[in-house]
Amino acid sequence: MTGYIIRRLLQAIIVVLGVMLFVFVIYHLEPAYIMARAIVGPRASPAQIQAVIQANAFNKPFYDQFWRELQNYATLNFGHSYQRNAPVSTLIAENLPRTGLLVGTATVFALLIAIPLGVFQTVRRNKPSDYVLTSLAFIFYSMPPYVLGPVLVIYLAIKVHVFTPIVPTNYSVAQLATDWRAMTLPVLTLAAVTVASFSRYMRSSMMDALTEDYVRTARAKGAGRGRVLFRHAFRNALIPIVTLLGLSLPNIAGGAVLTETVFNYPGMGYLTTTAAEQFDLALVLGTTVVFAILVVVGNLLADILYAVLDPRIRYAK
């Protein structure tokens, strides 16, 4: 197990380095003066642009720049965002917890709904209620946040004043966590897709578990319907869900980017989108790397949890 974790950690580091390299290459395909102008602004004189190019070493060879960037990152110096005039690390530290709150709440909420729903559909399989729920899952599954979000805003915040339509951008995590009127719609919007997909996963995972030998054995020994369903099938059906959760992290993060844009929610997604639009290289690189690290770590945790939950799993070597 320790060997496995070490190998996975090495892999994770390679993945994060690869992501950095990728974003770096894309941005450095642009000529140096464009990158400099993105920092000092369109009305800078040629001399000022030259100065910025010198200061940021944009005229150095590519590998040289990348190496410098790596050294900076190794010392947790993520650079400076000129557009916002703040260190990238500060910006990330401000916004990451808010995104964490949104994604965490939405995911927990989604699982609390999706898992019972999946079990319910298994019990009622191929009955009308199953078909209705399946159709709903299909529809919500295909409904991106930028469709669901505005619809919810129009009907629940504008026509009926139950919730606030957008989230105040200066809110701290504590303020967000206590203001349910502001948080409900973003959480619902982000959770919808997860509910749709995980109720389906849970349904098919339960159906698979019910075909296992141990379920037949339990039935043969006279275990009741409820006991077979919850003590035997349900607990085993949950195991793949953990892995699927790890694997769908990039998509949940993508959903968070869109949801944050719909509601002006002050988080990492909003930060990334605006940084990309302003050609703020340091900030884009920083946020993308943070996203990559989170996803990789999430996957790693899911894999480890998976081994903990299921004693049959033994990782080789």
């Binding site: 892999q11 390679i14 993945v15 690869g18 992501v19 990728f22 974003v23 894309i26 941005y27 395909l29 899952a137 299909f138 599954y141 295909s142 409904m143 991106p144 930028y146 469709v147 979000g149 505005p150 619809v151 805003v153 129009i154 009907y155 504008i158 897709v193 749709a196 997909s197 389906r200 349904r203 098919s204 995972s205 159906m207 698979d208 019910l210 075909t211 296992e212 793949p240 694997l247 769908s248 990039p250 998509n251 993060a253 993508g254 959903g255 980017v257 869109l258 844009t261 719909v262 990334t272 990309a276 639009e277 946020t287 993308t288 996203f291 990559a292 998976y306 799993i313 033994r314 990782y315």
Partner: protein
Amino acid sequence: MPSDPGPVSGGGEGIVPWASPMIGAPPPSLKPGGPADAPFVAAPDAAGGVLPPPGDAASAIPAGGEARHTGSIYRLIFRVFLENKLAVLGLALVILMVLFCFVGPLLYHAQVFSATYNIELPPGAGHPLGTDGNGVDVLGELMVAGQNSLEVGLVAAALATSIGVIWGAIAGFFGGVIDAVMMRIVDVLLSVPILVLLIVLAVIYSPGKWTICLIIGFVAWQVPSRLVRGETLSLRTREYVQAVRVMGGGGRRIVLRHIIPNAIGTIIVNATFQVADAILFLAALGFLGLGLHFPQSDWGSMLSGGSTYMEVGAWWLIIPAGSCIVIVVVAFNFIGDALRDSLEVRLQQR
């Protein structure tokens, strides 16, 4: 108990969750009996859908009879497809939307240029779905924007699938170091949220219609590449591939003429979901204001314009465009699901 077709599948800004468990090296315990694990088309393909058990089939079919077999499997897919009500519904919805977008403008002449008093009108006489913030008729806009959404969706999906198929087939066929390096690259790309990559690329290249297809194709090919690599790993040990080798066929011939045609089931299923994904990607870019440039438009850009007016409750700027996106995506997901059922589950019983 009949095996469940598997979790809901398909698009959703790169959600593709159904693919996740199948791609790459699946975590160990998804293997036993997981829905995603069906060993898959190779068997029905080799059997040409005619001979029942794959075991006999592999030995019974001579290596030369490929054209006939591909023909018959397409017929079989078609027949199984028509038996599936959801698939027919999906196909009907797609045809309906194509007619709406491409034939609609011939029948419905929207008054595109309009005076300021026409701005943001609710649905009513003359404008069945109202007008937007620029005074453009929403119904007419919906049709024209839909052309872009559908075209970009199809082209980008074709591109992503082609890149992925070639990448995966090469990695799987050569194996070893080449495979390891190529698949690590896929891993790297899969662990960035695709949307973030898309945003970065779209900002830098400030794309037009066809560049956007390239960009979407470029960020979305990893899932098909993993699927095809997996297929290739199992196909390359088949007798007919060995036979080609013995007869002196080179790597390119084996990959292009033998491995890819035999993995075509996986490829088609995934391509269908790719279309749904690509439409959602374009819509997401459009919504973020990074999509097609004015006066070009797509359903996502319409939503972007509409969400500026959501505070005044202008539902007609959100719901029509949103419904178009959802209908098309649901339709392609239905089709993809049905194709997967027909290729993976039903054919195996024959």
